[in-house]
Structures are given as structure tokens and as C-alpha cells.
């Protein structure tokens, strides 16, 4: 099977995570009235790590942390087979909060659109920003952009980007495949 081309790995992978965490701290300080929300399922792998890093750097921060599943908010329900839902863990409302959505790969922007729809059902945030590990540029289908970006990738439409999370942080990798692997 195709192994894919590695576009991000240790030690740069870890540095990128550190940088993203520090960028959030630069903007949000003690994270008063701030919610960090990972998008299920794969954005949560990233948001867990970012949240842990922030907690290591500022142990007393006030960020609320949630996980949001957007399955029921997708706009392509009739166009594809039903998707298996994941857990949503949001024990707060986002009224008047500063929200940072966190996902692994930003591609067409449709997932983020669905996440913004979903967010509406949890209240009216003060503002929303987006953090992604990988930004696949020039492939957007709707006007959505990320505010914090790990690294950018320019690849053909058929290509597929996979973030491989490992228990051992030294083994975390981002790979670029020539086409999507089913399964």
C-alpha cells in the first residue's frame, strides 16, 4: 500500500503544536470567557493536545473545553450515506463567549460551515476563530479561512491528507496520499 509522502513529522510537528498553543495564549491571555472546541472525531486529537499544552504553560487558565460532533448538522445529508455520530461534550453555552474551533485539516470548508451551524444551537458566541493543523489552500468551496495554521499544503484535488496521531508524540506525522484510501 502507498505509504504517502510525509509533510510534517517530529521534531517540527511538536514545534508546530507548541507554536499554535503559544499563539492562542498570545491572543487570549488567561482565556477568560473563552471556549476551545474540538471538532469530532479527528479535530479532538489536536484539541486535546493543544489544551494540554496550554494547561502546562498556564496552569490556572480559565478556558472551557468542549468537543462538538457535527454529523447532524451537515448539509449533504441527502447526498451521501448516513454517517456514524460521535459524542458531543459541551457542558456550557457559548453566549457571549470567545470561541476557538479546532480541526485537523481545513479543505473545502464544509465541515467548518457545519460546525458554525452547530454552534448556533449552543448560543450566540461573541466571536469565533478557527485553528487548524493543515490548511489545504486553494480548495475552498465557501469563504472560510483559518486564523491559526500549523502548516499549509498545496495539492491536487484527488490527494488526501492524513494526520497520524500516535501515543508517542515523536511518531506523530502528517502524510499526503495521491488519492483517498477507502476504509
Amino acid at each position: 500500500m502507498e505509504r504517502g509522502r510525509i509533510i510534517l513529522k517530529s521534531p517540527r510537528f511538536d514545534l508546530t503544536l507548541q507554536r499554535l498553543a503559544h499563539q492562542l495564549i498570545e491572543t487570549y491571555g488567561q482565556f477568560e470567557n473563552t471556549c476551545l472546541i474540538g471538532i469530532q472525531p479527528r479535530g479532538v486529537e489536536l484539541s486535546d493536545r493543544i489544551y494540554t499544552l496550554i494547561t502546562e504553560i498556564i496552569p490556572g487558565h480559565q478556558a472551557k473545553y468542549g468537543k462538538l460532533d457535527i454529523t447532524f448538522y451537515r448539509d449533504d445529508f441527502r447526498l451521501r450515506k448516513a454517517l456514524k455520530a460521535n459524542d458531543t461534550e459541551m457542558d456550557f453555552v457559548v453566549d457571549d463567549q470567545r470561541v476557538v474551533l479546532i480541526d485537523d485539516v481545513l479543505y473545502t470548508g464544509r465541515t467548518i460551515q457545519a460546525a458554525l451551524t452547530a454552534l448556533n444551537y449552543f448560543g450566540r458566541p461573541k466571536n469565533v476563530e478557527l485553528l487548524v493543523l493543515i490548511d489545504r489552500r486553494f480548495k475552498r468551496e465557501i469563504p472560510i479561512r483559518a486564523d491559526y495554521i500549523g502548516t499549509s499544503v498545496d495539492a491536487v484535488d484527488e490527494a488526501h491528507v492524513v494526520v497520524d496521531w500516535d501515543l508517542n508524540p515523536l511518531k506523530n506525522e502528517v502524510r499526503l496520499f495521491k488519492k483517498k484510501i477507502e476504509g
Partner: protein, 310 residues
Amino acid sequence: MGSEAKFSTKHLLGIKYISTADIELIFHTADEFKEVINRPIKRVPTLRDITVANIFFENSTRTRISFELAEKRLSADVVNFSASSSSVSKGETLLDTVNNILSMKVDMVVIRHPAAGVPVYLSTRVNANIINAGDGTHEHPTQALLDAYSMIEKLGNLRGKKIVIVGDILHSRVALSNIFCLKKLGAKVRVCGPPTLIPKFIESLGVEVSFDVEASLKWCDAANVLRIQLERQEIPYLPSLREYAQYYGINAAMLERVDRPILILHPGPINRGVELSSDAADSKQSIILQQVENGVAIRMAVLYLLANRN
């Protein structure tokens, strides 16, 4: 993006026709919907371009309201139809009635009918997803799903757990669906009731038969108590309801004599003082109202999983 939900069928006609994997997928999806219906805003836009017709040829409160709420919480458009106020009384056939409703661009049909087999019949003749909301004495799949789901919430996995179904087994679609569902989930199932109300050869479904309700309660982890369906009994199967209550009614004193807490379920409507006394129906062991809450989540899951398999 999540993984694809692999549901094996276009319709929910009965538990008999779906796999154990389907049941587990419904339960997994219901978990997520249960979280949704406990939020301040209890609604998702998922089925916003789907129209569902609830066609009820038989009276119902719980099931119809539960389906309607499930549909509305998924943002589907809903039309309600009940036979008493319709052209059925003018002599229209079932197939004509349903096809007329479907030509108004309805995607899914939830149907309840006094004749067994109506959902299966419709599923081979009309172009819509059919959900059986109870057909005669045949099946009532969403009820069995919510019963099993409620038991799993309290007991964990049902593999090896002992469940007794008490009451009018002969006329109960809930009993048949429950037997299929519980067996598929690996539970041990016993039916208990007066000999006249236990169908012959029911052992062939892999269940035990008992005529002693107290011994059955001592044996089981959960008891699903059914109503005596007088409206389906064309000949008297019982001397009287009072005699039934005497021999098969469950009350708090009887539950006291069981040495450990068992769960009491009832699909409703309860005839208080017949199959369940008030002190048993309202006891801590009774999870009847949780069943009703779970019913909405289960029906949302079924609608969600079936809606886009057109």
C-alpha cells in the same frame, strides 16, 4: 468526517428483519440523540428536507407523540393522518390512501395498523421508507428497541441477563418484538402468563415458559410487564380481569419478596391494579418514564438512519 453508518435495510418492518449490528448502531446513534434532547435547544437540522407521514389506523398516544417529537426535533416536516377522520371511512383502500399521501412528496411513512403484515405489504409496493409503529399482533420494533435500550442503561450489556415478559403474550406485538430483540442481544428470555395467553410452540423462538409470576420475578434481572389487550380478544381468554390481577398482577409486596432489586418496565398504557399495582408502577424499580424518554431518542435514531437510504 466520521465513518459511514452501515445500516442494512431501507425499512424498519420488524426486529426479525434487522441484524444485531443494526440494533447496536441504532443504540449508538440514540446515545448521541439523547444528549441532543437534553440540551437547552433540543433540535438539530438534519432532516430539514425530509417529509414524514404518520399514518395511524389504530389509536395511540405515546407512540404517535413520540414519533412526532422525534421528527420535529430532527427538523423534518410532519403530516399526521388518523383513519377515523379520513377517506378510509368512505371505502378507500390502504394502498390508494398511502399512494395518495406519497404523491404529495412524502419521503417516509410511519404506520400503525390493526392488521399484521401491513408494513411489509407496503414496503414492497410503495416508494418510501416504511417504519412499523405496530401492526396487529405482529411486531412493534421501536418499542422493543427502546425497552432493550432502557434495560442496557441500567444493567449494562444484556448478554446472559435474564428478562421475563409477563402478561398477554398471545396478543402482544411488544412481546414478539422484545423476544427477537433480546435474543439478538444475547439475553435469556422467559415469558410468563396464563396458559391461555401463551402461544403454542413459543419455545421454538428460544424462550422459556412459566406460569408462576413470583418465581419468574425471583429468576429475572428485569421484568417487562404487558397490558391485557381486551380489544384484541375475540373470545374470553380469562374468567375476569380481577382474577388475572389476583394471579398475575405485580405489586410492591411481591417485589419486596424478591431478594434483589429488579427492573420493572411497561410499554404503556398501564391498567393500574390489573397487571401492575400503583405501588409497583411508581416504585423506584420502575423505569417506565425513562422508557418514554428513551423512546424519542430511539425513534430519532431510526429516522436518521433510514432517511437517506433512498
